[in-house]
Symmetry: none
Subunit: 252 residues, 2 copies
DNA sequence: GTTTGATGTCACGACTTTGTCACATCTATC
DNA sequence: GATAGATGTGACAAAGTCGTGACATCAAAC
């Protein structure tokens, strides 16, 4: 049990006396300088079953994202170094981060219209102070709108079907055999299709982070995944992006 | 009585002067903050032969579900922390819980349409106050509709037949001998086919939970079950999913 | 009291998975 | 086309996972 937690991306949430385990958790990055709000938000979204990591300023956020791409960013608009608005624009322009949904946190309601007017590409806005319920609701709504596959039990992309509850991968009704790591890797790819991930980011999201593994190991597992998919010619979906990493894509 | 209830998922129900034993009871989680209603519903559905566990709020419900996945959830729509509607939506999106049928409890009839309009994925609705018989009927109906095998007395999957009342397993009219634990294990598998269960989950559902047993014991009983099934070549339905657990499946 | 059958634990061996490495192949650039 | 850097590929040892038979214990039945 403890071993699993180290090796696999399982989130353990302690609530009172018992532990909850979450497979392949959704990662949320919170960028906020006020420690009090950070703590409150952190608690809230951990309770809701997400994995959170925090940054107090844009510089820290950049470092955090380089290590691990989040599935959603909560971004305060007043930050010590760069304004949240500017940073959101930057994120939406860069290839690596443009797909990540952003929820902006604003201090007062009357700023909301001003910020909205600036249109820096955020997917939703929430004004402080907000209730726990409101935040959870907005996170869920944004994730459902922008990344519907994240919470699906059966993911079917162009005939390649991954079923989590029966732990099976089928291609045009042919069952495909693969190891646990390849299964997790494919799951991550299918829930994050059309996006490029570096080896380090894949190690973080598929292997669970905090693991010191040679990045070239990812290459080998990519190879094994391709081998598992090649009998039904789905290996062409696992694409190499030279100099950057890998991508799962149905195009080309 | 107390020992039986702890070690095995056997429910003892007293009717008049005699005890009735129910194998592998259906687990129902009730989420409701009013203690009076909770008590009444608890009594009602225990009488009907189900096993109930209660939660006063959504936070408690989460803990309860993490320990043991129920077969049905009775969900009040007004709860202290998160509204029942929101929680129902959450449950229906997460892979672990999406297949669990939900019956919503509403305080007054005139709210019913409003709630129904929100369509949070509940399988049925019932308005307070309700009669004992009505609740029992709806539970039965929902279970029959969503998990037909759970309420069956005889389950037949591809020639493998399990008869609960006569406590017998036959394969193509050949009687198969197995121990009580293997029988319960097979029953659980056949009512939850095509899904992978970890050793911990099997211990919880087949052994009755709250028991500190070495997880490897599950392996041994899987072995005994396979041995019992192998004469008629049904052992191939009991499949190992490396790194995850076991699955009962007619495929491959 | 003895027998019988069921059950949980253990030890051993077979098998699978996994990270690393060495070498082959490819690609961009000069 | 020569070069350097990046990626693909097969092999391997170590670690992990699972199957299997044996055994001690316990409770019920005789």
């Amino acid at each position: 049990m403890s071993r699993l937690c180290h090796i696999y991306p399982i989130l353990m949430v302690r609530i009172d006396e018992s532990w909850i385990f979450i497979m392949m958790p959704v990662k949320i990055l919170m960028v906020e300088d006020e420690a009090a709000i950070r703590e409150m938000v952190c608690f809230t979204i951990t309770q809701a079953g997400y994995q959170v990591f925090e940054a107090g300023c844009v510089a820290d956020a950049r470092i955090a994202i380089a290590d691990s791409v989040p599935d959603l960013i909560l971004l305060d608009w007043m930050l010590p170094d760069v304004s949240g608005i500017e940073y959101a624009r930057t994120l939406k322009k860069e290839e690596m981060t443009r797909h990540i949904p952003i929820i902006m946190l604003t201090a007062r309601g009357d700023e909301l219209d001003k910020i909205r007017g600036l249109d820096m590409g955020a997917d939703d806005y929430i004004t402080k102070p907000f209730s726990v319920k409101e935040l959870q609701a907005r996170i869920k709504a944004v994730l459902r709108r922008t990344s519907p596959l994240l919470t699906e039990d059966v993911i079917d992309i162009d005939g390649l079907r991954l079923d989590i509850s029966s732990h099976r991968v089928t291609a045009n009704d042919t069952s495909l055999e693969m190891g646990p790591t390849e299964f997790r890797l494919l799951h991550f790819f299918m829930t994050h299709a059309e996006r490029v991930f570096s080896r380090g980011q894949l190690l973080d999201r598929v292997w669970g982070g905090n693991v010191y593994i040679d990045e070239r190991t990812v290459d080998v597992h990519i190879r094994r995944l391709r081998k598992a998919l090649e009998s039904e010619h789905y290996d062409r979906y696992v694409q190499t992006v030279r100099g950057s990493g890998y991508r799962f894509s149905t195009k080309v």
